[in-house]
Subunit: 343 residues, 2 copies
DNA sequence: GCGTACGTTTGCAACGCTGCAAAGCGTGAA
DNA sequence: TTCACGCTTTGCAGCGTTGCAAACGTACGC
C-alpha cells in the first residue's frame, strides 16, 4: 500500500494541501493542526514521492559526478569528498563512471544530465570540453583538465606549476637525468600535456636538455602502467637519477618495479608522484607527491555549480570561469631519507 | 526552453501519444511516422523527463548502494563493479556513504529508498539487520555481514571459513604465535566476530591456545589503525610470528610499521590481509590475502535485488536468503619468499 | 459490397505533489 | 455593530509521461 499525502490528509482530517504544508514546514499552520498531521505522517510512515515532487518543482536536489573510474584512489577520494560536501547543501550525488570511454562519457553527460539531476560535475577524459559543451543539457562544471577555452566552468590546480615544482625539487636534490612517466597523447583532456610542459620548463630553467625519449607515454594511470613504463625507461636510459610520475599510482607501480630490479629508492633513484592518495602515505618508502587540495576543488566546484543552477532562470548566462585551486608539494621518503632497516 | 513530447509531437505533426510511442520503441508505428518523429526528437534534442516517467511508471531504474565509505579501496572497487554490472541491467547507481555512522545509515536506507530508487544494496556497519528491516521501505539486499537471522536477503563470503583458512596457512608455515588485528566490538554488523571465530577455530584445530590478548580491536579498518594495532601487539607479545589482519588496509598499515620497527616481512613476521584490494598486489612485499569474489558478490546481490523488485507486486513475500559467494586465499610474498635486493 | 480483423493513431485521465489565488475565520479598531 | 486585516486552510490546475481503451483506416475474405 502506497501512502501519499492523500492518505495522510484523510487520516488527519485536513486537506491534502494542508498536509503538504506540514510536510514542507510551511510556517502558517496552526500548532494543533501541525501536530495532528505530523502524527498521521509518522503513523502511516509517509515518505514524499520524489518523482512527483521533482516533476512539480523542477528540481531534484541530486547532482551527478562523472569520473573515468570510481575504483582508482584519486577518484574515489574525490567522490567521497563530493558526497560529503554535497550533503552540506542538501544534495545527494549520483556517481557514474565512464571507464575512460568516449562514448560513455558522452552518454553520461547527456543522459543523467537530461533532467533527472540538477547539475553535473565531470572529470573529462576522452572527450574534449568543446564537444562536451555541445552535449550538456544543464549546468556542468569540469574538474581537473586543461584550459577549456572558456567554454565551460572548470576547476583545477595549476598543473604546469605543480609539475614544474615537482621537477625542481628533484633538480634541487642534484638529480640530472630525470624521467617522466604518464604522457597520454591519445587523450583529449590535456592534463598530461600540462604536466609535461611543467617538467620541460623546470629542466630548461636548469639548463638541462628536454629529452623526449625520457617522457614515457602510458595507456592509463595505474600501477601496472607505471611498472611497465619504468622498465622501458630503464632500458632507454639506465643511468636515470629520478622519475617523476603523473599519478601516485604510476609512482607506486614504478617504485615496486625499481625495488624488484635492485634499485634502491631514493638512494639510487628518486620517485615523485602526483595526487597524494592515501596509499602513498603508507608505501615503503613513503611517496613524495603533489597534493592538490581535493576538498577545495570540490567545494569550489560545487559553489560554482550551485551558482549555475541558481542562475539558470536568470537572463544572460555568465561567462565560464577557470578556477584554480591550490596544491602543495609533499616531500616524503621517496626523495629524501631512508629508514634504517635490519638485514 | 524545455522540450517535451508535446513539442516533439507538434513538430512532427502527430499526437503526443504517438510521439511517446516512438520514443519508447512501441512496435505498431508506421515507418514513415516513426521517421518523422525521430527526426523531430533529434532536431529538438528531446530528452525524456525522468521524473514524469517515474511518476507514471512507478520505476526509476536506479538503485542505491549504501556503503560506510566510498574512498576505502574495498568499497570503491565494489562500487565500481556495481556500477558496471548494474549498467548491464539498464540500472544506474546512486552511491551513498554513511561514514560508519548509525544515524546516517538509518537515513540512507530509509531516505533514498523512499520511492526514488527501486532497491537498495547496503553494507551495514553500525546498524543491525534487525533494525534495518524495520526501516526498509522497499527491496533491500545486504552485503557482507553476519548471518541476518533470515530477516533480509544477504550476500557474503563464508567469513569463518575464510578466516580459518588464512590462519591455517600461517600455521602451515610453522608460525605459532599469531596475532589478529581487526576486532570491532563496537559494531553491529558482526563481520569481525566471524573472522575472530575462524581464527579461533584454526588455532584450536592446531592445539594452540586462543589468546584474547593477541586479538587487537580497532576503531576502523584503515592503515593507521593497522599501524597502531601492530605496535600495541608488539608490546603485548614481542615474539609474534605472524599477524592476521581483517582487512588489507590494516595489513598494509601493519606492514609499514613492522618494517619501520626493523622486523622483516615475512622472515621475522608474516602478514595476511583480507579483501584483495589492488594496493596489496603492489606493496613491498606483496600481500597474502583472502580474496572474495567481488564481481560474484555484486552479481548475486543484483540478481536477488532484481527478483525482489520484480516480485514486489506478487503475493507472498519470498523468504530471505543467505547467499554465500566463493573466496580464495591468495598466497603472496608477505607469507612466503622474499625478493633479492641490493644493500 | 459488406463485415471482420488487424495495424495504426488518438484522447482522456491519472501518477503525487505544490504554486497560485482565493475563501474562511477570528481579532481589534472605528 | 461593522470593517479591515492577517493568520489559516482550501480547491484547482498542471508538471510530462504513459496505461487504457476506443477510434480510425485499410485490406482482406466471403
Amino acid at each position: 500500500m502506497v501512502v501519499g499525502l492523500r492518505e495522510v490528509a484523510e487520516r488527519a482530517g485536513v486537506s491534502v494541501r494542508t498536509a503538504s504544508n506540514v510536510a514542507n514546514d510551511f510556517p502558517h499552520v496552526a500548532p494543533e493542526t501541525r501536530r495532528r498531521v505530523q502524527a498521521a505522517i509518522e503513523e502511516l510512515k509517509y515518505r514524499p514521492n520524489t518523482a512527483a515532487r521533482q516533476l512539480r518543482r523542477g528540481r531534484t536536489e541530486v547532482i551527478s559526478l562523472v569520473v573515468p573510474e570510481i575504483s582508482s584512489p584519486y577518484f574515489s577520494e574525490l567522490a567521497a569528498i563530493t558526497v560529503r560536501v554535497a550533503a552540506e547543501r542538501g544534495w545527494t550525488v549520483h556517481i557514474d563512471q565512464t571507464d575512460g570511454d568516449a562514448d560513455q562519457e558522452r552518454r553520461m553527460i547527456l543522459g543523467p544530465a537530461g533532467r533527472s539531476v540538477d547539475g553535473v560535475l565531470c572529470s573529462p577524459w576522452a572527450v574534449s570540453p568543446a564537444e562536451l559543451v555541445e552535449l550538456a543539457a544543464g549546468p556542468v562544471v569540469l574538474l581537473g583538465e586543461r584550459e577549456t577555452d572558456g567554454v565551460l566552468d572548470h576547476v583545477a590546480i595549476d598543473n604546469v606549476r605543480a609539475s614544474r615544482e615537482a621537477t625542481l625539487h628533484l633538480l634541487a636534490r642534484g638529480d640530472r637525468v630525470i624521467g617522466a612517466i604518464g604522457a597520454q597523447p591519445h587523450l583529449q583532456n590535456g592534463t598530461a600535456e600540462l604536466r609535461v610542459e611543467g617538467y620541460r620548463q623546470a629542466l630548461e630553467s636548469a639548463g638541462l636538455p628536454f629529452r623526449t625519449d625520457l617522457v614515457m607515454p602510458v595507456r592509463s594511470l595505474h600501477r601496472p602502467d607505471g611498472a611497465a613504463a619504468v622498465t622501458r625507461l630503464l632500458e632507454v636510459e639506465p643511468r636515470v637519477d629520478a622519475v617523476f610520475c603523473f599519478s601516485d599510482e604510476l609512482a607506486l607501480g614504478a617504485l615496486r618495479t625499481l625495488l624488484e630490479q635492485g634499485r634502491r629508492v631514493p638512494q639510487d633513484v628518486a620517485v615523485v608522484g602526483f595526487d597524494d592518495i592515501e596509499d602513498g602515505r603508507y608505501s615503503t618508502p613513503t611517496l613524495t607527491t603533489i597534493a592538490p587540495d581535493k576538498t577545495q576543488i570540490v567545494r569550489v566546484a560545487l559553489d560554482r555549480l550551485a551558482a549555475r543552477i541558481a542562475g539558470q532562470t536568470g537572463s544572460g548566462a555568465e561567462a565560464p570561469l577557470d578556477l584554480v585551486v591550490p596544491h602543495r608539494l609533499l616531500i616524503r621518503e621517496s626523495t629524501t631519507s631512508v629508514r634504517t632497516r635490519k638485514g
